[in-house]
């Protein structure tokens, strides 16, 4: 079990809208293993984003157990969950969500600064941008970049601290196919070269085609889990 990064067991998650209870997850089980390039697919409302939120320590389950790197998330304080996100997880959002007032390099540096990395954070940020062929964007602010460029910088930010697990919610949803392919190739290279694990929630067949494993959700449970060679 050493290579299991995320262990989701019998997880339920309910949302309350007034008196109406929405059962987003209904006893879901899932293991994410090191090196997975995993796509979570399913129709809207199937629980993809909710599952990603739980695995990312952004939310806590109503029932069951979510262990990330062996830590049961419901037992962690808010501060500890923040620390876990900062040190062990990377996030890529559908809407890029770069800090608009910071340049590409500063966005990457920012995460390193939050981690308490001092003088070498600039060098490290530049190195990761160069590695991902984003060096020429270093001094540009998000408003001066295309969507594809922003999303690639967002990936650079997510992987800057070399997290073992990167969670990406619909990362290609706002990109054209060329940019989407470049992004996926970049993430797959990161997985191969740095032993990172990627988990996507997606509707995009292109993402599915790149995935090494596809998990399908329906009504809050896993209905299929297929590995590709």
């Amino acid at each position: 079990m050493e290579n299991v990064l995320v262990d989701v067991r019998s997880v339920t998650k309910d949302f309350y809208t007034g008196k109406v209870v929405v059962h987003a997850l209904r006893g879901l089980d899932l293991l994410v293993k090191s090196g997975d390039f995993l796509s979570i697919v399913g129709p809207s409302g199937s629980g993809k984003t909710t599952l990603l939120n739980l695995m990312g320590a952004l939310d806590v389950a109503t029932g069951g157990e979510v262990k990330v790197f062996g830590k049961e998330l419901s037992k962690l304080s808010r501060r500890k969950r923040a620390e876990l996100r900062l040190k062990l997880l990377g996030f890529v959002f559908q809407a890029y969500n770069l800090v608009p007032v910071l340049t590409a390099r500063e966005n990457v540096e920012f995460v390193l600064e939050l981690q308490g990395i001092g003088s070498e954070r600039r060098t490290r940020a530049e190195a990761i941008l160069e590695e991902l062929s984003l060096g020429e964007l270093a001094d540009r602010r998000p408003s001066e970049m295309s969507g594809g460029q922003q999303q690639r910088v967002a990936v650079a930010r997510a992987v800057a601290s070399r997290p073992r697990l990167v969670l990406a919610d619909e990362p290609t949803a706002n990109l054209d196919s060329k940019n989407a392919e470049a992004l996926l190739q970049m993430m797959r290279d990161l997985r191969d070269e740095h032993s990172m694990t990627f988990v996507f929630s997606t509707h995009d067949p292109l993402v599915v085609s790149y995935a090494s494993r596809v998990v399908t959700l329906r009504d809050g449970v896993v209905v299929s889990d297929e590995s590709k060679n």
């Binding site: 984003t49 501060r79 923040a82 040190k87 559908q94 809407a95």
Partner: protein, 413 residues
């Protein structure tokens, strides 16, 4: 020195909505300017009050016989007046030490009589201390070596219908209760413009008081300092320096009504300043809360990235601090010309008060000057920073409490 990205983030964020930031800065600046002007005026009027009290003969500090404060008896005398006088006159920071003795007296001229408080003085010291002395409108003030002469206020002169060189009959109670009297020639008439003060001035030499009352020495030594702000520091030093037996009092203890008035004026002014700051705080809170609500998604992202609550608060407080610093600068720009004008030209209250103002035997200067100085810079900074930081407490708490899932939803909003 490398600036942290959180600081850059904070500063650049303020440039996102320039108009809102400018309005916040102007709001803080206005509030700061009003508060600083009020403080400058309060400090100026406070200084003038203390100077008026001191120069009306009360001094900043008084050495009095033990028990005088409770009894207010004129008959009490200093136990060691000559040593006291010698000690204080040799101390650094003392401008003048003037010995006084007082006695209730009746003044008569022909069939006209009036009651007053006779003040025995050392003419040379009194000349330096008492600004009433400078208001001699006819004749001259007392001089060292004078005997059997007096300087009276114009209201007394009018009431008794006397003029210079007339001889007044002065009657006082002697040491053993006997009635003592003397004929005093009027050598000077004081006209301060205040009827209250001019009806109470009857200055004679200390020697004459001693002779009339049979009581040796002065009953008090009024002391003025070069710097009135040293009062609280000087009192224990003087008390320690003089021989045991006499006590050292501040002007607040000598003229408690003025001390009370000063305290109520200060309290009222502080209340006004508090109201101004409250208005500023509410304005900034409203603007900052709106800004935070607009950036809810951004704070959700920061939380998702692992930014700790303390770091988010630091970001919000830094933004507020920058607004505060610029607000303070704006406030100083706004208020400095106003304070300069009132510090150099003053605000003349004579017209409003109908002439000179006197209370409790104190002749107040009718023109009040603001206190202008470098103190305004730290005060402005402190006021602006405190109000902006207080103002963002709630918005900062709100930013920290943003739920990364509900606000972010990881999807396009």
């Amino acid at each position: 020195m490398r600036v942290s990205l959180i600081t850059k983030f904070a500063v650049r964020t303020l440039r996102r909505k320039v108009r809102r930031t400018l309005l916040s800065v102007i709001g803080v600046g206005f509030g700061c300017a009003i508060a600083v002007f009020m403080i400058a005026f309060m400090r100026g009027s406070g200084e003038i009050r203390i100077r008026s009290i001191a120069e009306s003969g009360f001094g900043h500090i008084r050495i009095a016989p033990a028990g005088w404060e409770e009894s207010d008896e004129h008959e009490l005398r200093l136990q060691n007046w000559s040593e006291d006088l010698e000690v204080v006159r040799s101390m650094k920071g003392i401008k003048v030490a003037a010995p006084h003795a007082r006695s209730s007296a009746l003044l008569a001229f022909g069939t006209r009589v009036t009651g007053t408080e006779m003040l025995g003085v050392d003419p040379s010291a009194e000349h330096e201390m008492n600004r009433l002395v400078r208001a001699v409108s006819e004749g001259r003030y007392l001089q060292p070596g004078d005997r059997d002469v007096t300087v009276i206020g114009s209201s007394i002169a009018k009431r008794l219908d006397v003029e210079l060189d007339d001889d007044l009959l002065l009657t006082v109670a002697g040491e053993d209760g006997s009635v003592e009297y003397a004929m005093l020639r009027i050598v000077g008439i004081v006209n301060t413009g205040s009827r209250e003060i001019d009806a109470s001035i009857c200055h004679v030499t200390l020697d004459d008081v001693e002779q009339l009352t049979g009581l040796d020495g002065p009953a008090e030594i009024s002391i003025t300092l070069h710097d009135y702000r040293e009062i609280d520091r000087m009192v224990p030093r003087i008390q320690e320096a003089i021989p045991e037996g006499d006590v050292v009092l501040t002007w607040k203890e000598v003229v408690p009504s003025q001390g009370g008035d000063a305290a109520s004026d200060r309290a009222f002014m502080n209340l006004m300043i508090g109201i101004v700051i409250l208005v500023v705080v509410l304005g900034v809170t409203s603007a900052q809360l709106t800004a935070i609500l607009e950036r809810k998604r951004e704070f959700a992202v920061l939380t998702a990235l692992g930014m700790r609550s303390t770091q988010i608060m630091r970001l919000v407080f830094l933004e507020a601090a920058v607004v505060g610093v610029f607000g303070a600068a704006a406030g100083l720009l706004l208020v400095t010309p106003l304070v300069y004008h009132t510090a150099t030209k003053g605000l003349d209250f004579a017209g409003m008060m109908g002439g000179e103002v006197a209370m409790s035997g104190v002749l107040f200067e009718p023109i009040i000057y603001s206190d202008m100085g470098f103190w305004m810079i730290p005060y402005a900074l402190l006021l602006a920073l405190a109000s902006t930081v207080i103002a963002v407490l709630y918005p900062a708490w709100f930013a920290v409490k943003v739920n990364p899932t509900s606000a972010l939803s990881l999807r396009e909003a």
